[in-house]
């Protein structure tokens, strides 16, 4: 109750500030839209299905890209964690690559894949793959060794050992990395969509810019924030809670 009250107070204050700034007309309205202008843009956008299509397209892209990174990242991370040679060689490379914003891959992606969806997917994968890989590597190392031993003891090896033992055993240690990977995937997608205009939320945002319609730009920004937050708060939170219940762990962080 108290928490809800705090939320309400904080956000109404924020909104009030916005209204005041807009009312003062320091900047022209097309540069600094009003809250109701944004609300109207949202309404119109949903009304003519622009936003629904954009959301569907963006979600589809990010899910495909993220799924690819998770599968590849787990294989890579496990490989790096269990092979000394790979760890010494690839380990450093992976860490240094993480400082590269994934959009830097865009020119190469365009040359390799052409101006199409695959180029976007490539940028998304490059954005989140490293987080997932590093998380998996770290999780595999942090995971108590006894689980692997117990699994092998009961005759699990190869894929069975990975699927039934190593993967579930390392989940609590990699869930934050998976979450981070998701955030990177989402950001990379929007960036790529802003550069390559073909549906998606990024494109709708750029369309707002081209039309000088800052209300629409802010409306799309709110949508991007909301979607990222919902996935994080609903999907990953429930995954974490589920793990905590099973393992009997105190909440992470």
């Amino acid at each position: 109750m108290k928490r809800a009250a705090r939320y309400i107070i904080f956000y109404s204050a924020l909104l009030a500030l916005w209204v005041i700034l807009a009312k003062l007309k320091i900047w022209p309205p097309y540069l600094f839209p009003t809250p109701w202008g944004v609300a109207e843009a949202l309404y119109v956008g949903f009304q003519d299905h622009t936003y629904l299509i954009a959301i569907a397209v963006s979600m589809q892209r990010v899910l495909i890209g993220y799924a690819i990174s998770v599968v590849l990242g787990m294989i890579l991370g496990l490989g790096v964690a269990s092979n000394k040679f790979l760890e010494e060689t690839m380990g450093g490379l992976l860490v240094s690559l993480q400082s590269l914003p994934s959009i830097c891959w865009w020119p190469l992606a365009l040359l390799w894949f052409g101006l199409n969806q695959n180029a976007i997917l490539f940028v998304v994968v490059m954005g989140s793959l490293l987080s997932v890989t590093l998380a998996m590597e770290d999780g595999r190392k942090q995971m108590p060794k006894i689980f692997g031993q117990a699994g092998r003891n009961f005759g699990a090896k190869g894929f069975k050992l990975f699927w039934y033992v190593l993967l579930p055993a390392s989940l609590p240690f990699i869930v934050s990395g998976l979450k981070q990977g998701w955030a990177f995937a989402w950001r990379s997608l929007i960036t790529a969509e802003m550069l390559y205009l073909s549906l998606g939320l990024g494109q709708v945002l750029m369309m707002g810019r081209d039309l000088n319609d800052m209300s629409a730009v802010i409306a799309v920004m709110l949508l991007i924030i909301a979607l990222g937050y919902i996935i994080d708060g609903v999907v990953f939170k429930s995954m974490e809670r589920h793990l905590q219940n099973k393992w009997g762990l105190a909440p992470a962080n």
């Binding site: 060794k145 006894i146 003891n153 009961f154 005759g155 393992w247």
Partner: protein, 314 residues
Amino acid sequence: MSANARAVPGRYPVPSSPRMPARGTKLGPVSLGESSAPAMAPVSKVGLSEICLSYKTQSGERLLALDHINLQVRAGEFLCIVGPSGCGKSTLLHLIAGLHSQTSGQVLVDGHPVSGPGTDRILIFQEHGLFPWLTVAENVEFGMKMKGIPKAERQERTRYYLKLVHLAKFEKSYIHQLSGGMRQRVAIARALATEPDVLLMDEPFAALDAQTRDLLHDELERIWSETGRTIIFVTHNVREAVRLGDRVVLLTFRPGRVKNEFPVSLPRPRSLEDPEVAMAAREVLDELRDEINRSLEAEYQEGTKPHIEPGVEV
């Protein structure tokens, strides 16, 4: 199918000669030192021949952990291995389990050399090694699932073995919801459910309180006599070894060698408090004392105990 499933439980306990008299009846005079074991089988269940194990420490020197260990374990025998910490007794179990390989020598099970883990030998860890992401029942089913046993039979057997360790009511619990003693019982049920010939137990009760441990001793003795498994049990507790074992093998401190063997022919069921158990334990302890002293001395000199158990590696 259903008739078959119903007939299943009776099959599990491997029939064995009743070695354990009914509870409360004591057999005649106690004799220590004279083996009551049945006639030697032509091939021993587990045979260790000239096992040596050495490895590099962090400072780069080679350390001999196990030195020409020779040991024969009969089918159905309850063998206890005792020794001071650092004698390599846990390592020895890991070698038999196939989780680690020796530098030289051979581990034979039914006369065949061991080259890796196998479900004919199941190791029960000191820290139980149960999977926290699975329920109790799913944990017990795990080994059977890896073996490819059909689901219906898995569930049937799981129920049977959970009943055997008195945990039938907890099949849907998660591991963190159980007490230490219950966890060890689940670990025992999980191991038994794959119906291994040999159970390898690595100080399974060391972390438990005394009352729980006493209860689990009774249960383990009962399960052993009901299922006829071969058990190799590692402990640093001599009393526990004498209370449980048909034979107690004493290992020396680094490098681990077989120092002596003590057949224990006390009648079963035994209890930790039996004066006969205490007496027999004293005899073992007298020989163990030197080794413990050497182990302590090494610990003082080195400041910290070098970690030499390879059992900790994957």
